[in-house]
Every structure is written in structure tokens, then in C-alpha cells.
């Protein structure tokens, strides 16, 4: 990405959405360390097509997501590729925090006391943003939790790795289709920090370098090459041009 055309800081508990064109790059920066950015993706022209974490994991034979991985829709297409990542591991299994969990851990969400620093939870942050597009809880599937690492032992016991994301950690997505991006800066549901996290996350938007035949995400595995083939068919059928 050359100079971003837009940059903003999302406060803790904040949520955001935008339709991004194919070729866009979104760079996320954990400014203070310890953040969690929940993300959901939808096809803006068919909101029934959405990010599918199981398909994403099984077709790339991975429980963790990092640079080289693609983020699949339930229709066999790729919404976005992870083209840069400082951390090597992001969670897409644990979902979003609920209001009752935040209240039990850090006290309730209370605008009277907290004003704009209110302790929003990931589920309600998503629902607030999704409602703007006519979407609701039926449309919410597993999200991507950027900056959060959840590991499993041989018996399948899972745990959130503390202090995984130092200040300045970055992850960049390149969008391979026009995509409605919905995201929040709310704590990972397994976060057990002493107080509700307060760090901002920086969002930067620009244009990614053009996809090449040698692209490491496209060539990560044969499955991803076929995913890009499905994208090419979708683009050709929608906009005309070579397939």
C-alpha cells in the first residue's frame, strides 16, 4: 500500500463498517498492545454470502490464520487475503464476547457512567453495525479475531495466549472481491485482563499492489488457486472480460 487515502483510530468498544472495493487494502495496527479486532465479511450484492470460518480453516488445513491465508465465503470464493502479519496467529474460532460476560468480568455497559468509553461487547457491537444493512443475529457467523491467539493442546483444551500482540502489531488484508467489512474493537471473549481494555486500533485504507501469478496467498495451496479461479469466474460473469 502506498499512502493510505484514509486513516482513523477506532477507540476501545468502537465499531465500524464500510463496503470496500476489490483491490482495497485494509491495514490494522494495535496501537497500544492487547487489542482484539473482530471482523465479519459479507458480499454487498448478496448479503446471504458471508465469511465462513470452517471452510477457511479446512481448505487451508489450518487452525490459525496468518500471512498467506485467504478468508473464504460460504460460496467457495475469497473475500480477502492476509498479505502481511506481524504475529503469525489469529483466532477465528472463539466468536465474540456477550454482554453478560463483560458485565461479570469488568462491570456492565453503562452510558450514564462511562459515556463514550462504555464497555461494549463484541456481539452487540456487531449487531449494531449489522442492523444498518438489514442484517441481524441470524446473519452472524464465526468472526475473525485479529491480534488474538488461541491455542489447543493435544486433548483439545483451548486457551487465549496472554500478551500476544505488542504495541504496533499490524495485519493487512487485500480484498479480492467487493466486500462489506464489519468490525469492532472489543475484547476477545476469553480476555481475562484486570480491566476492560482501552487501547485504540488504527485503520488505514489504500490500494494493494496488483495480484500476480506469483502471489504467495494465491499459491499458498492448490485450494487457494481454485478459490481464485472461483473469484475470476464471479468477476467475469459480473463485469465481463476474460475468464
Amino acid at each position: 500500500m502506498d499512502t493510505p487515502y484514509y486513516s482513523t483510530q477506532l477507540p476501545a468498544g468502537g465499531h465500524w463498517s464500510l463496503r470496500l472495493a476489490r483491490g482495497s487494502q485494509l491495514r490494522l495496527t494495535d496501537l497500544h498492545g492487547g487489542a482484539n479486532v473482530g471482523l465479519l465479511f459479507y458480499n454487498p450484492d448478496n448479503l446471504l454470502e458471508r465469511y465462513n470460518a470452517p471452510d477457511t480453516l479446512k481448505c487451508q488445513h489450518s487452525f490459525r490464520l496468518t500471512k498467506g491465508h485467504c478468508l473464504y465465503s460460504d460460496m467457495g470464493r475469497i473475500f480477502a487475503s492476509i498479505i502481511a502479519d506481524d504475529l503469525g496467529w489469529h483466532d477465528t474460532v472463539c466468536g465474540s464476547s456477550h454482554a453478560a460476560q463483560i458485565a461479570a468480568r469488568w462491570g456492565g455497559r453503562d452510558y450514564q457512567q462511562q459515556r463514550n468509553a462504555w464497555q461494549q461487547n463484541g456481539t452487540d457491537a456487531f449487531l449494531t453495525e449489522l442492523a444498518k444493512y438489514g442484517l441481524g443475529k441470524a446473519d452472524m457467523a464465526a468472526c475473525l479475531n485479529v491480534f488474538s491467539k488461541v491455542v489447543a493442546d493435544e486433548q483439545g483444551a483451548i486457551s487465549l495466549v496472554a500478551d500476544h500482540s505488542p504495541a504496533g502489531s499490524q495485519l493487512s488484508l487485500r480484498f479480492e472481491l467487493d466486500t462489506l467489512v464489519v468490525l469492532h474493537n472489543c475484547p476477545h471473549p476469553l480476555n481475562s485482563a484486570a480491566s476492560y481494555p482501552t487501547g485504540e486500533v488504527q485503520l488505514e485504507l489504500g490500494w494493494a499492489e496488483a495480484l500476480t501469478e506469483q502471489d504467495p496467498c494465491r499459491n499458498h495451496c492448490p485450494e487457494n488457486r481454485r478459490g481464485f479461479e472461483n473469484n475470476a469466474l464471479y468477476q467475469a460473469a459480473r463485469h465481463g472480460g476474460a475468464y
Partner: protein, 219 residues
């Protein structure tokens, strides 16, 4: 973890006392209602057969089984006896009360004609798949009020998808066998939607999909 290190839990419910018994052939679906307090058993009749299963709150299908909430709250990836199957509102929907298989997957999702093109070959699109079976169920039985929006991440009963500490994930040979079963108690009135998996491209059905049976008891 292997089945040999898991404590298997048998049930003393007798098939003769079941209020409903129904065989579901491979490639078919089952869509029906279960009342709170009833017990549902899914029986792997011939072995190594994946049963791709979704649950919905019968009063509000937008509340449905959530793989995320279930694995996070039990802090474990695999389902077995004692697992509480939770909804997207983080409420208990069912609890597994018996399991003679040892563990069940809820990370791998369902096969679909579209994901088959990615996983195997672009021309594997027109093979039968669980999601197409669910779509047929929705189309043939509109009285339940389900739509494509409601189809989310499922349970793969009898399927083995081990995750490594390094973050790998594979579809492994099944650990189920003929006669193995999983039994659960409904904690709310539910709709259950099962695709008896027709996948032929990976070992989840031993490359030979076979029938399952569901049994239902009132107590």
C-alpha cells in the same frame, strides 16, 4: 487424544422404549422437532459416518447452535459426554449425556458443492453435499420458517478433525464404528436438521456413506 484415552459413556435407554425411531440414509436429511426434556440419540449404524447437525430454538430459529460459543465456554474443541451445546445467545440448547464414540467435531463445518470446488477440484461441484441437503430441506419444508440465513456452523457427529498445538487441522480417519452412538438431552424446544453426509472425497465417511438412525425418548 484418541478414543482409547477418552471415557466412553453408555446409556441405559432402551430402543424399545423410544417414542420415535427413524433411519436416515446417506445423502438424505432429517428435519423435525424435539421438546425440552426429550433425549435424542444418533446411531452410527455401519460405522465411520458423519452426521452434519444443526439445532434451532423452535420458538425463534435465529437462535441456533453456535460452535463458537460451545467450544469457548467448555474451553475444549471436541464434543463428548458432558459437553453443553450452546446457542449464539450463549444459552444451553442440549447436553451430551452419553457417547460411545469418544469425540465429535464442530470446527470442520459442512461440505458444500461450492467448497468442494475449492477443496478437491473445480469440477467436483455437482457431487451431493450436506449443505445442498439442508437447502433441499428448507425448500421442501417451509413450515419450519428456516432460510439460508439460518444455516451456520454445525456439529459433525462421529467425525474426527484433530488440531495440533502448532495450529494444524486435518480431516482424519474416523474413530467411530458400527453401533456407536451419541445421546443428548434437549434443554429447550428445538428444531433439529441433520444431513447424513454424502461426501465421497475425504475419509469422513470412510469413502462409503452409510445410514444412521435417530431415536427419541420422552425421558
Amino acid at each position: 487424544m484418541t478414543a482409547s484415552t477418552t471415557t466412553l459413556q453408555h446409556s441405559n435407554r432402551e430402543p424399545a422404549q423410544a417414542v420415535q425411531r427413524q433411519q436416515i440414509d446417506a445423502g438424505d436429511y432429517y428435519l423435525g422437532r424435539i421438546a425440552a426434556g426429550q433425549y435424542l440419540r444418533i446411531l452410527d449404524l455401519a460405522g465411520n459416518q458423519a452426521a452434519d447437525t444443526l439445532f434451532f430454538n423452535a420458538a425463534d430459529p435465529a437462535e441456533r447452535y453456535s460452535a463458537c460459543d460451545t467450544v469457548r465456554e467448555q474451553a475444549s474443541l471436541y464434543l463428548t459426554t458432558g459437553s453443553v451445546l450452546r446457542s449464539n445467545e450463549n444459552r444451553p440448547m442440549l447436553q451430551i449425556v452419553a457417547d460411545t464414540c469418544g469425540r465429535h467435531d464442530t470446527l470442520g463445518g459442512a461440505c458444500a458443492s461450492e467448497s468442494n470446488t475449492v477443496r478437491y477440484a473445480l469440477e467436483k461441484r455437482c457431487m451431493h453435499s450436506c449443505r445442498d441437503s439442508w437447502m433441499l430441506a428448507i425448500a421442501e419444508q417451509p413450515q419450519w420458517g428456516l432460510s439460508k440465513r439460518d444455516i451456520s456452523h454445525n456439529i459433525n457427529f462421529f467425525m474426527n478433525v484433530p488440531v495440533t498445538p502448532e495450529g494444524g487441522l486435518t480431516f482424519a480417519d474416523g474413530i467411530s464404528a458400527a453401533g456407536k452412538y451419541v445421546e443428548m438431552k434437549a434443554e429447550m424446544d428445538l428444531l433439529v436438521l441433520i444431513s447424513n453426509c454424502p461426501q465421497l472425497n475425504n475419509p469422513c465417511n470412510g469413502y462409503n456413506p452409510t445410514p444412521i438412525e435417530i431415536l427419541l425418548w420422552d425421558h
